[in-house]
Symmetry: C2
Subunit: 209 residues, 2 copies
């Protein structure tokens, strides 16, 4: 196996094992076992578990960034439809077990924000850089539909990420995605109200967790 | 020292140490050191760190429940004013370092949801029981001001908790409370829009994190 493959397998293992167990509970041995590589290979690529976590946050940004870039909502002409389509896309990703749809950066920073400045900064970049991509469509939608709105595109994009991160926490607490789906429905209704779009009805099965 | 005091000191230590470092990174020795008690005393009161975490979630519910029960927003006659006052109260708690204003249950469940059913259930109770208290005022506000609304009081109360939990994650990622305050402002504006109240202007320093 070539060296880049080993590195990517370790990064992929970090994303899945940390999302299931948390960062601190994931040992180097767990990552090596999940990736099928030796400890020697691990330390050839990463000087520490912390260095791997920083690289995994960048890998998470790249992986999810490609997923969002390829999503169908970009085809809408109206930037508000693109933003609402982004929320529908995020909603559609909420299925299966929480470890499968929750966020590596949000999980990791929850544990490490006070003990690892490098991991905290890498997770912040993950979240802020993704919010900045979403903010582009929000800014265009604001310009077209709500130019005098008292909120900023950047602020609304960060709020969108806060709702998603909190929806993940409640999904983990409840053991399934329903409560997270209901929160995304509330977020979408908020956006529709901000832009005076007619509200989406909430279906009973997503509203009562 | 009497036995109840030792137990309470261990529970208080769990709340502060886990909020700063996360659950897995907090060892029994750390808790004993923070509480000023021996390991023997720890295992006299709790059979395991997991048992302490379950009790700490209950202690967190009791402590924060008393804080909210004593808060001034309950004096409003209109249940919508009480709910908006609750949001203002939550906003006012967002100050200082993230470890001081974030949530024991949200932090702990983020790490343990898949590995400890007992801790997951205890954290879920924490969040759901608090949401149920908030939902009482929302239900009365809905009945008085928006009886035909397509959302339920319970669903909006859970969404409120999701926004707060996500605001905590973003505060940890950014290293301070500003981004969390901005999210609570968005949540308050959402509630005002749902109830056709005039919107609160967002001050510039809280909108741009």
């Amino acid at each position: 196996m070539s060296s880049p493959d080993t590195r990517t397998r370790l990064l992929d293992a970090a994303l899945s094992v940390v999302r299931a167990r948390g960062y601190t509970a994931t040992g180097v041995a767990d990552l090596c076992a999940a990736a099928g590589v030796s400890k020697g290979a691990f330390f050839h690529h990463f000087e520490s578990k912390e260095a791997l976590a920083v690289a995994a946050a960048e890998h998470w940004s790249a992986t999810t960034g490609a997923l969002f870039a390829a999503a169908p909502y970009h085809a809408h002409e109206d930037p508000l439809d693109r933003f609402l389509g982004y929320l529908d896309f995020r909603r559609a990703l909420l299925r299966g077990a929480p470890a499968e749809f929750t966020c590596f950066a949000g999980t990791t920073v929850q544990e490490t924000f006070d003990t690892s400045p490098a991991i905290r900064a890498a997770c912040e970049r993950c979240i802020v850089d993704h919010a900045a991509v979403v903010a582009k469509d929000i800014a265009l939608a604001r310009e077209r539909h709500a130019p005098d709105a008292p909120w900023s595109a950047e602020g609304l994009a960060l709020h969108t990420q806060a709702v998603l991160q909190g929806a993940f926490v409640l999904a983990k607490a409840s053991g399934g995605p329903d409560v997270a789906i209901a929160s995304v429905d509330h977020l979408k209704r908020y956006v529709e109200l901000l832009f005076n779009r007619s509200a989406t009805p909430i279906s009973p099965q997503t509203e009562s967790p």
